[in-house]
Structures are given as C-alpha cells and as structure tokens.
Symmetry: C2
Subunit: 353 residues, 2 copies
Amino acid sequence: MTGYQLSSKKRFVEQLGEAGLIERISKKFLVDKQTITVGAGEDDCAVIDIEKAKGGYKYLVVTTDTVQESTHFPTGISPFQIGWTSVAVNLSDIAAMGAHPFAFTVAMGIPSHTETAFMDEVVEGIEKCASAYNTAVVGGDITKSKEFSLTGTCFGFADKPVRRAGAEVGDLVCVTGSLGNAALGMKLIKKEMEAPKRVEEAAKMTLFQPMPRVKEGIILADSGLVTSMIDISDGLALSLAELAKSSVVGFEIYEDKVPVLSEEIRSAWEGDFDLSMYGFDLRELAFFFGGDYELLFTVDAQVIENEEVLEMLKREVKMSVIGKVVSAEEGIYFKTGEGKKKEKMEIKGYQHF
Amino acid sequence: MTGYQLSSKKRFVEQLGEAGLIERISKKFLVDKQTITVGAGEDDCAVIDIEKAKGGYKYLVVTTDTVQESTHFPTGISPFQIGWTSVAVNLSDIAAMGAHPFAFTVAMGIPSHTETAFMDEVVEGIEKCASAYNTAVVGGDITKSKEFSLTGTCFGFADKPVRRAGAEVGDLVCVTGSLGNAALGMKLIKKEMEAPKRVEEAAKMTLFQPMPRVKEGIILADSGLVTSMIDISDGLALSLAELAKSSVVGFEIYEDKVPVLSEEIRSAWEGDFDLSMYGFDLRELAFFFGGDYELLFTVDAQVIENEEVLEMLKREVKMSVIGKVVSAEEGIYFKTGEGKKKEKMEIKGYQHF
C-alpha cells in the first residue's frame, strides 16, 4: 500500500479473518452510550437516541464521500493520513452546510494483502479526525476489494442549513483561509518545481491531512449574513461554477484579492517566490487544482457596514472578500482593479470523469 | 461489466463528465420535499426535517454495506439487479433491528469504461428497490475506480430496536422464509449440479435480487416476543454463532425443521430431488453458504401457548421454529428428534477474509 512498510515480520488482515478484523477495528471506536446505544461492530445497525443526539436542532444533514487508492492517495501520504482524509472530506461537506457533525460510518474496501499494522494506522487516523471534530464513529463494513478504499457517511444537525442556492446580486463573494496549498504540495511531490523544505512540509500537510472548516461553517451560518455556501474541494473555479448554477447568478472575481498560499508557506519561503519560472502561476494553484477544503460563500453586502461582525469574521473564519455577485447573464469573470477589462474565467478543476 | 452489452453504439460515463453523470443520476431520485428539504445532487449534504421524518420514533438506526464486482456479482446478474442488491443488503440490516427504513445514500465507484446504459440500469435498480421499501435515495457520490462498487448507507427509525443480545435459555430459535435458495442458484451457475429450468430461475432470482425482510422484522419487533434478531446474509451457521456470542447462549438446532428451499423451488422440481448425487446436501446449502437474506431470531417460548400470535407469525413472517436456546457452555449443536445424539455444528460460511 503506497509503498508503506512497518517491519520485516508482516502480518496481513487475511490472517485475522473477517470477524477478527471487525473486532480489532470496532474496539477503537468507543462512543457515549447515553446517546449512541449501539456502536460500531455491536449489531446489524448503530442505534442513536434521536432526542439526545439532535439537541434542539431541526434538521438532519447527511453526506457520503469515498477516498481510494488509485485516485486520492498522493505519493507519501501515511496510512494515518488516509484514514484522517476519509473523515475530513465528509466533514467538509457538513461544514459547507454550516452544520454540527455528529456521527460517521465507514465502509472499507481492503485488499487481502493489506498489513494489519497499516490498517491499525488507518483506523487511528479515522478515530483521531472524527474525535477532533466531535464526531462519533458509529458503524462500518469491511469488504475484500482490489484497491484500498474508504467510503464515509457523515451525519450532522443544523437549524438553518446554508444552501448553495441563495446568493443575490450585490452580495460579496468570500473564502475562508488560503488556497493553492494542496496544489503546491502536489506539484512538489511530482517534482514539477522546487521549494525550501519547510514550504514543502507545510504544503504536503495541507494535501495529506486536510482540516475541514467545521467551526468556520457554523460561525458563518450563525452570523445570519451568509446567503450561500459550498466547500472548495475541486478548486475555486469549479466551486464558483456550482454556486453560480445553484443560485442562478454570476461572479466578478478580483484575482489579486484571492488569498493564495498560507502565511506559514509564504513566511517559510525565503526571499521572493516566482512560480512563473516553473511555467505556472498562482491562479492555476488556487483556481484550477483543488484539495484545499476551504469554504466559498456569499454574504450580504451590509456586512461591510458592520465593523464588529466583519472583524469577527476575518478573525474567526479568516474570511477574505474576493469578489461580488453579479447577474447570471454576466457569467463568471476576473476583474482586477477598477477600470480593468473583464476576463471570462475558464471552468476547470479536479473531475473524476 | 459482467459481460453485459446493450448496443453496438456504446456510450461511456467518461463522455458524460462528472457533472453530467451526477445530474443524470440525481434526477432519477425524486423525494418528498416536505420531509427531505434537500435531496440527491442538490447540495453538499441532504437535509431532512427530523420531526417529520421520525414521526413518533425514538431511535435512529444506521447501517452501511458495500457490494462490488470482484466479490458480489455472480455471473448473469443484471445491472438492474446489482443496483437492487446494493439497497437490499442494507435494508436487510435495518430489518434485523425491526426498524422502519427511511433514507439511503449510495457512493458509487465507477470504472471509466462503464457504459452509460449500464449505469442507467444500475440506478433504476437502486431506485426500484428503495421505493419498494418506502426508502428515499437522498444522496450519493461518484468516484472513478478500478472495479465497480456501490456502498450504501441506510438509516431508519425504531422505538425498540431488536438487538443481537437478548436471547434467554429456553427461548425458541426461529427463521423467516426458507434457506439455501441463493446457494442453490450459485451451484447451478457454477454448473456443479443440474436442475429444471424453473428451479434454476427461481434459485437465481433469490441470489440476484434478494428481498429483505423489512415487513417481517417490523412485525416481529412489534410482537414484543422477540428477544434477539440478526439477518442471515452469510449462512445460518455464522449467524447462529454471532447471535450466540452476543447473547452469551448456545443453540440446539433441529436440522429437519430448517426450511430448506422455497415452496416455489420444491414444487418446480419434478419428482424427488436428491442433492447427495452431486456430492452435497441440504445442510450445506442452508447452513454454510449464505445469500438468502432471511432473519434469524429468538422468541419467548410462551408464544407456543398463544395460538393466535403463533398463527399470525407463521402466516405473516413465514416463521419456522428450528431449535431452542441452551446455555453458552453447551455451544451450538445439531439434535434431530428425541434421544438422538448431539452433533457440534461447524461454524463456517461466507467470509471476506
């Protein structure tokens, strides 16, 4: 598996048998029995006390997402990070609704010759990501398969889930955090460019172990000012296109306002960095690549007049205003600075087919 | 895919693109917007109004299960039946809790060269099985993968979910329906034996398009007499072993009371059928094979004295009493007729590893 080896005395999952493997995995996932009456590996289904689980929330939100060897595991990712990622990509969808994650199930496709130690680390990664975001792993399934895959399903609760539809002309277009970090990591792995070691480590960390913006999604939903939201898993351009389609609007994007590369990466890069020497630019990293798992959202423009809220959002969700909502007829385009020409945005990014 | 071809002018999913494929699939899954505010393909998550969905029920039950090409698709299964099966195997777990299924998500691993027509039939199978059991398909995911796979996650509601733990010494051991039909289908496909065409068709139908015992599970739970329950997906022996372990009991099984092969198959078999001529027996089909998706359960022995309830259970859930619960120390054994010797049951069946 991804070139990973633990010791010379290998043990493989097939030696444990199905029952042994389920038992080994299940005991890692302990749950609060007051709310989750039946947890992973205990019965045909997990059983959750609805009233205790939902608290005062009105809506249950559900999402499912798969990560697998041939598509999602960049060279160098650890088994822990594979497990982590399978939870993180699902939590990112929960975050995009502004919802509170609650429970997670994971169906694992496992080749026979997978090492037990590899599985243990995958399971550790799943557990650590779930518990970091107050999410209980309540169930799962194991299947022998040709390639390693993890399909997660995540449940959460919300009172006012933020939809993709809802952006109005005049709203501000915003993102959380910074973009292009995962793309940079991928370019470094593929040796398409070079960078100082600290830059490489930070960029790979974004790629290998994404931090879904769950807290940020909740703060944004609670602000009452957010009119639409989506996560940026496949690059900013594709996410803008999805949001535009759902909300039936267009976007004017100020390229120079898009936060490309994290502070950590920028400060670690000694001296100037000029990506054009490698034949690509910052736009390519932020708009057309993906893997950053930040949130793209629109807010009512009145937020600008409310300095207190604006400061809170900049501080708590690291919000950057990157454009404004225009009519659907105008489409999605770049416009940098007043008086400059509009340039139609190419809609491309990571797509499975 | 499984040798399936529709026409000489093939179209493949890669020609549709990811967005096109999601749109094509999502529009097949219509939901009641009063309860499911956001359905498949509409947003980052599905959104469900909890109060409206759960009605008066106290517990949410959740299960996840994968079916995939290399493990679960017997020769001759149609794409419709592959889709159907992905829902049915999950519903069988919901049935085993005596719960009411409500919603389903499906993550699809799709090789690039999958025909669009094949996918359409898979989706049709998913939709038809879900709606046959009052279950809404509320979300999904598509990933390009090496082998075709469908990971379903099903959730439902229950007031008193029936656990695997709960069987008491003296309870009766029972099953729904008949066993060995899917195993017979597999033996016929593998040409390990021969049978009349009608027998072959009926046996293959059980194997290709399982009918989860959802209604039966609910009736059993509602009866208040069932002390433990599990589905029989991997053969009766393994399910007995699981139930014994969870309930900390043993089982005395009357082999001649186990309903092997359906009425339909028995009546279609002209004259006597003697499986021993093929080198195996009915025990092998019913106990050690799997694929029937019936329910195994224990009931309070007082049901015998309540003729009305007993008749109802025999009629409505096609219940057969196949043994009784004994102490854990006694283990699991065959005993046929009074005075006969006990014979320890071998615990084997379908296992992934």
